[in-house]
């Protein structure tokens, strides 16, 4: 079953169109990676799904319900959680308090403080530390943990590895099998294409707000991806 179906999506910032008639779908339990260069529309797409960027045209259906006009916090209650670009950890709260904020919807599921700590040792070690005192990698892990605390059915991970040291990226991705193993559907934006290909069931490459390439990692090759990524025919 399709958990999320996006048809003909248009998103504008003022007169700047960031997304053009975009189609995207993701099946329940699937991991889809969205890749693309700066300005491709990746973060805008995530915001549109989370309700943080209003769409001007097209449809976003979640569990066969149109959600274009549903408020962001209602979408969280419906099971859509976003780890935003820049992580947006509450700086004046401890890691544990940040996680508890994520649980405010009281959705039932496998994720709670102890399961998040088990999945992310990095977060567990820092549970009493204030958000302001976290490294980039610790922030990212805590932000993913916070999103999981809402027990989402659809987890949106924006720019997972951007600006993080390779060893930290590895630790964060180590938790992904546990997340998907719990049945959570994952839509992730990743600037490291190799990383995206490693973890995703399917990859969709955006170019200037449109889909330039879509497929399973095993059906793609370096030339196809490079030409889609750069828009070279």
């Amino acid at each position: 079953m399709r958990l999320l179906e996006i048809d003909n999506l248009d998103v504008f910032y003022g007169d700047f169109q960031a997304i053009y008639s975009l189609d995207l779908h993701i099946a329940e339990g699937e991991t889809l990676a969205v890749i693309g260069s700066n300005g491709a529309g990746k973060t805008t797409l995530m915001k549109a799904i989370a309700g943080l960027a209003p769409s001007s045209g097209g449809q976003i259906r979640y569990r066969e319900l149109n959600i274009e006009t549903v408020k962001p916090f209602k979408r969280v209650e419906m099971g859509i959680a976003l780890t935003p670009e820049g992580r947006k950890i509450f700086r004046s709260l401890t890691v544990e308090e940040n996680l508890k904020v994520g649980a405010h919807t009281k959705r039932k599921g496998p994720w709670n403080l102890s399961s998040v700590y088990a999945a992310f040792p990095l977060v567990s070690e820092r549970r009493d530390r204030l958000g302001i005192n976290l490294s980039g990698g610790e922030q990212q892990a805590a932000a993913i943990g916070r999103a999981l605390m809402s027990n989402p059915d659809l987890l949106l991970l924006d720019e997972v590895s951007l600006g993080l040291a390779p060893v930290v990226v590895e630790q964060i991705y180590a938790a992904l099998p546990q997340i998907t193993g719990n049945g959570t559907t994952v839509l992730l934006v990743e600037q490291d294409v190799n990383q995206a290909l490693k973890v995703a069931d399917r990859v969709q490459c955006l170019l200037e707000g449109r889909t330039a390439l879509e497929g399973r990692p095993q059906d793609l090759n370096r030339e196809l991806i490079a030409s889609a990524y750069f828009g070279l025919a």
């Binding site: 910032y13 003022g14 007169d15 700047f16 169109q17 960031a18 260069s37 700066n38 300005g39 390779p166 600037q191 490291d192 294409v193 190799n194 990383q195 995206a196 290909l197 490693k198 200037e208 990692p217 095993q218 793609l220 090759n221 370096r222 991806i225 490079a226 990524y229 750069f230 828009g231 070279l232 025919a233």
Partner: protein
């Protein structure tokens, strides 16, 4: 062919961050150089080094055969170097026309009627003439980008540095911009264009440079640069290898 610009062993660092690491390159007069590179590669900083807004830590820059390394930004502007900014920076309380007139008056030393003519011409070329009397603060993003270009053109530049001016243009507007930049080169200008819309860049530029972490990763024939494995790697990830992926 004479070089409009010669950059020799240019270095610039901010604390630990190296944005230009012993960079050398030259741009022939009346040609177009494209610059690509991932975030933080040092692309915009390089333009600031060329305009003189940022001083070099070491190295030299020559413009039209003349060493401008210690020349002020204002003097470089009057000598014929102009740039646009990725994030438009107009004088928001002045009209569109006045913004462009500032370029003509202070960049090209054209005052009064000559300055007006220059400003009007720049507004016509960039398709902004119908907004000439609007305050700059009222402009939409795309028109602000056009205003950046109009202000730069009004200074009568010989070398124009463009910082990501194609982002956000529509399918109709992008070809217009490409024609416009072609025309600048045809009129004798030298162009350096930073752009992440690679296919637009490749329609215009004679040479392409890829910067990464303050170093020139590749330089040369545009399509060859884009096919260079090292260039693909900096964009697509550190260990791009489909053998690992599947």
């Amino acid at each position: 062919m004479q070089n409009a610009l010669e950059v020799k062993n240019a270095s610039k660092r901010f604390g630990k961050v190296v944005t230009a690491d012993n960079i050398s390159f030259s741009v022939p007069t009346n040609s177009a150089l494209g610059i690509v590179g991932p975030n933080g590669a040092g692309k915009s900083t390089l333009l600031s080094l060329i305009t003189g807004v940022l001083p070099l830590d070491s190295g030299s820059i020559s413009f039209e055969g003349r060493d401008v390394t210690t020349m002020s930004p204002g003097a470089r502007s009057q000598a014929g170097v102009a740039r646009t900014f990725q994030i438009p920076r107009p004088f928001i309380d002045m009209s569109v026309f006045e913004n462009v007139y500032v370029g003509a008056a202070f960049g090209a030393d054209k005052h009064g009627k000559r300055g007006y003519q220059s400003a009007v011409q720049a507004l016509e070329v960039t398709g902004l003439i119908h907004l000439a009397d609007e305050p700059a603060r009222k402009l939409r993003l795309l028109d602000l980008k056009r205003l950046e270009l109009a202000r730069a053109l009004a200074t009568d530049p010989k070398l124009i540095l463009l910082d990501e001016i194609a982002g956000g243009l529509t399918e109709r507007e992008l070809p217009e911009l490409i024609v416009l930049i072609h025309n600048l080169v045809a009129q004798g200008m030298t162009v350096i264009w930073i752009e992440h819309i690679v296919h637009a860049l490749l329609e215009v530029v004679d040479q392409l440079m890829c910067l990464a972490a303050g170093e020139i990763l590749a330089y040369g024939v545009p399509r060859e640069v884009m096919a260079n494995p090292a260039v693909i790697e900096v964009y697509l990830g550190s260990t791009f290898d489909l053998g690992n992926a599947s």
